[in-house]
């Protein structure tokens, strides 16, 4: 598996749910400050008091690309997967198959939308700039080696109930 050059990394322990990232994202992509139009969302885990920024992780083996009846989910050059709004018919298959439930439905068009890491902006993703807590970061080079990824995966794996086994190719 080839590791991408850059990846948006999320640290829920640092996130305080302030929604600055949502504002920045909607401003960048929709020209309008409206958290409901942002390409990411913040999930609140009330019991543990954790805020999780939920964002498209651009899986290498992305199931959304395979299930889309319109082939509207397309891989960009920078590795992100976005919805081609010319053909998306708003069936939400990508929302339902996504392991993290990251695609969001545009309330005006009914089409889905996911993070493109602000690929046309040289200054980098706006949400990263907007996040004062350091919960959203760009990971690259040393922070994105196989060892680091494996270690992170182990951390979450330790929490899962027994009989954990990976089955996906």
């Amino acid at each position: 598996m080839e590791i991408r050059r850059e990846q948006l990394a999320v640290d829920p322990l640092k996130c305080n749910g302030c929604q600055q990232c949502l504002m920045a994202c909607s401003m960048k992509h929709q020209g309008n400050v409206n958290p409901g139009l942002a390409l990411l969302k913040i999930l609140r885990l009330e019991v543990q008091k954790v805020d999780v920024p939920v964002i498209c992780m651009a899986c290498d083996n992305a199931p959304c690309i395979k299930v889309c009846p319109m082939n509207a989910r397309v891989r960009q050059e920078n590795g992100t997967v976005i919805t081609n709004t010319d053909v998306c018919i708003g069936c939400r298959a990508c929302v339902y198959i996504c392991p993290v439930g990251s695609p969001l439905v545009n309330p005006y068009t009914g089409q889905t939308m996911t993070c493109d890491m602000c690929q046309d902006d040289e200054t980098g993703p706006w949400c990263v700039t907007a996040c004062r807590e350091g919960a959203l970061k760009i990971s690259k080079d040393d922070a994105l080696t196989k060892g680091v990824l494996r270690e992170r995966a182990e951390r979450s794996r330790a929490i899962y109930p027994n009989n954990f086994r990976t089955n996906q190719p």
Binding site: V52, I89, Y96, I159, R165
Partner: protein, 422 residues
């Protein structure tokens, strides 16, 4: 090496694309039974509904094949294979030699033996050529026979075109393979709200009309109509494989490398019979994502990777105007015959409904409508990993903050099923 691919659909083209990406020299030949370049059958109903233009249905143009150096033969239906001579013969009698053969010709629509089913005005919804006829047809009252995913999508498309639509289903509720009765009933209510007439538990006896369809007779009523759409399922094409003495069951039998019982012949897509990734039982899910994954395995094995297929899984979504529903894995009805302690988690708030089927505490399937469907992916993940939900229910609220941050999908899963704990 020369690879011949029978079938110009999703699976066939995927094999060709994967091979070409890694091997510039390989000779690739696609035999297409149809006259058009690759298109996506999944998007045909949306073309019919007018959501998209005709060009968006196509995934390739004739030039794309040239650019990729793939030799494609249109209107060439393969009719027999000679595994000793390593050749395929088409309907016109053209013989094509191969080093590796890939069967990806999919399935054919099942036409139930009903009187009048070949009348003018009876359409199907599986192929481009059929869809064009339906698109050009001008009617105002349509009967859809069968309420599988294709039937429901066709019904929505026809409704959008201004038809009065009736759906006839032989079994007790709509989408009987994908949904259990309670979920289907909620969908039925929603669809009736959009003005669709549903007749479940009815058997079509006859399609009346000489030149054009005039009515459909069921065991309970006669419905006047000018259009009939047959959507009673797809049967895998095994006739071609049988000419080479390839083992077949319901579909072509393949091993985990997607090889058939005859050397150098692979099969993938709608025509194969494969196994469920989670329960290991023999299944036939004729779904797009399975076709793509199988095609990747075929391409990998042709190139000598020795990759193994991990199994097919059921995942489908149905939408009707603003009602969205999703399903994966097995239904409660299909679970009834399995040994073990089966359990049902149900949640409902307003029009949103969640139904998760557990067997011995492990997720086996689920269905959801509305808001709950957005979290379907978390349950699919739990099914893949075989998470023990009994443990999860007992523990999720006690997982500390750091753990929650690392494995938040698990907490979300716990939240969703939490209130339903016994």
């Amino acid at each position: 090496m020369k690879v011949v691919i029978v079938g110009n659909g999703i699976a066939g083209n995927r094999v060709a694309a994967e091979l070409r990406e890694r091997d510039r020299e390989m000779e690739i030949c696609i035999l297409s039974a149809e006259a058009v370049p690759e298109y996506d059958p999944c998007s045909l109903p949306y073309y019919l509904a007018g959501n998209i233009g005709k060009k968006d249905v196509f995934k390739k143009t004739v030039d794309d094949y040239k650019r990729l150096n793939i030799d494609v033969m249109f209107n060439s239906k393969a009719v027999s294979i000679n595994p000793e001579a390593k050749s395929v013969t088409t309907e016109e009698g053209v013989e094509i030699g191969y080093d590796k053969l890939v069967l990806a010709h999919g399935g054919a629509l099942f036409f139930p033996p009903i009187e009048g089913i070949r009348n003018a005005g009876v359409f199907s919804c599986k192929q481009m050529s059929e869809m064009e006829k339906l698109e050009a047809h001008k009617g105002r009252k349509a009967v859809v026979i069968g309420s599988g995913a294709i039937g429901i999508e066709a019904a929505e498309a026809l409704k959008k075109r201004g038809y009065e639509v009736h759906i006839i289903e032989l079994l007790g509720w709509i989408l009987p393979v994908l949904f259990d009765e309670p979920t289907a009933r909620l969908l039925e209510t929603a669809m009736e709200g959009y003005g669709i007439h549903l007749h479940t538990g009815e058997k079509v006896l006859q399609i009346k009309g000489d030149k054009a369809v005039s009515s459909v007779v069921t065991d309970k009523r006669e419905i006047e109509c000018d259009t009939v759409v047959v959507a009673t399922g797809v049967i895998p094409g095994t006739a071609l494989a049988k000419t080479a003495q390839i083992e077949t069951g319901r579909g072509i039998k393949v091993n985990r490398q997607m090889e058939t019982s005859v050397a150098d012949i692979y099969a993938c897509g709608d025509c194969v019979e494969t196994f469920d990734a989670c329960t290991e039982e023999t299944v036939m899910f004729q779904l797009k994502h399975n076709a793509i994954e199988q095609a990747q395995i075929v391409a990998g094995n042709i190139l000598g990777d020795h990759v193994k297929y991990l199994g097919a899984y059921a995942f489908a979504r149905v939408h009707f105007f603003n009602t969205h529903a999703s399903t994966f894995g097995k239904t409660m009805r299909a679970t009834a015959c399995l040994l073990g302690k089966s359990e049902l988690i149900e949640k409902q708030s307003g029009n949103d409904y969640l139904r998760v089927v557990l067997l011995d505490g492990k997720v086996l399937g689920g269905q959801a409508i509305g808001r709950y469907a957005d979290a379907m992916g978390a349950f699919i993940g739990a099914m893949w990993r075989k998470d023990d939900l009994d443990q999860l229910r007992a523990k999720w609220s006690k997982i500390p903050q750091a753990g929650a941050a690392a494995a938040w999908p698990l907490i979300r899963l716990g939240q969703l099923i939490g209130a339903a704990a016994p």
